[in-house]
Amino acid sequence: MFSFDLLRDAVVIGVLLGCFYAAVSLGLSISFGLLDVPHLAHPAFLVGASYGVFLLNDRYDIDPLLAGLLITPLLFVFGIAAYRLYYETFEKRGSDAGVRGIAFFFGIAFIIEVLIILQFGVDQRSVTASYIGKAWRIGDMRIPFRLVVAFVVAVGLTTLLTLYLSRTFMGRAIRAVAQDQEALRLMGANPVRIKQWAFGIATAVLGIAGALLIIVAPVDATLDRTYIGRTFCIVVMAGLGSMTGTLVAAIILGVAETIVLTLFGASWAPAISFAMLLGVLAVRPQGLFGRRS
């Protein structure tokens, strides 16, 4: 059963897959990692975006990546509105906000799931494109081309976001507001508007991410449940708010999953991310995470 070739293949695929995971987790790194929003609906948004891509691809024959780009501005606006609602309802008020905030996003995720089922049914959906279905042969390895596409796009997205957060004014404001809201307010900036913008970006990224999701594999409405484990595992391991950390953590998860898949079969794979997440969380000290101390 065990062979080094198999392991090598698993690692290579795992790295590619991991980069893809990073792409779908970047938004959460911003919304949860930096903004502390308990965004349990992030994977649901992701799946919703992928269905949007499916729609455009299925009806108008638009290339999935292009479709993803097209829905990005829509998602940006949606993200801003969603944050506004969240802020007005929960972050402003006091005591019960934590429980209600979590329940709120859980409810939203569920609603999105059901709406997808009502609109598209329970069957899996996939897209067609010239790069789906082909594979590269390197030596005796067979690498699906769509994974390479996902890899390239993901790395590009990560680089883009990292640069944005470190080089642009708005990006640095976002980092600042994550660390010390009060200081920012004292300097005259409006932290709410900055956070709003950040959440908009985090949601906008899901356009491309959603495209990647449906490129890599067929999607169905309940896919968000597995991705809660993956995305939160990655964001938590990454250290809340680090973009490059997200990439590294995602690659670790991707490789771990593929190795387990190769050795033990598919039925255990969904549990990996959750098990890793539990491990990371159990080891962490109480209340002290990443950038805040």
Binding site: G94, S95, D96, P285, L288, S293
Partner: protein
Amino acid sequence: MPPETQAPLLRVSALTKRFGGFTALDNVSVEIRPGERFGLIGPNGSGKTTLINCISGAFRTEPGTVTFRDEDITRLQPHMRTRRGIARSFQIPRPFKSMTVSENLMVALDFAAVTDEAASAPQRRDTMMSILTRMGLASKADVSATKLSQVELRKMELARAMATHPKLLISDEAMAGLSSSEVDEVLDLLMSLASQDITIIMIEHIMQAVMRFSDRVMCLDAGRIIAIGTPSEVMANQRVQEAYLGT
């Protein structure tokens, strides 16, 4: 005034606290005597609140020990330390927002006031009301904690800490941001508590308050003790002045 020969109430030895690469406390050792009025000063980020967190148990420390009344409490959970007699107020008040003022205090009386275990419910209510009266909050007893003003919140913080029947009370910047008459109110409160044989550690930035209140003062900077002694000694200390001017 407490004689130097008395056993220390609280002893902190070689206390060190690190957060990743950042050392918040570096080998801090100090002894607090029973009945003492102890002032703790230092620029922002010098480790004052971290020290309090370590004493009250919110943070674990390695290495270092905390000894209270001759018992090593380094491994004890915060609620056990509270029951042993260490109470603290928080820099930013942390009221129980779903409760009224009296209910806030009742939590302390129900859970922490070990000496009162035999007391019946009406007796505890009486104790609670007398504490509120002493703090000047009696009229607010049935008001929700969310409706208090800043200074009332600070007073409730102290009242709740008092309701745990502490031997040692740590007040963390209870006067920050208050008007000068409000500062006097809180200072008088702390003075009267001190006169009831409660040892008090006061963290403050308001120097006149610290000077008036303290028997001894300790100054921290970057996690280390840079001066300890009488208020006038510490204020005159070169390094203390630099630490404050430098920030």
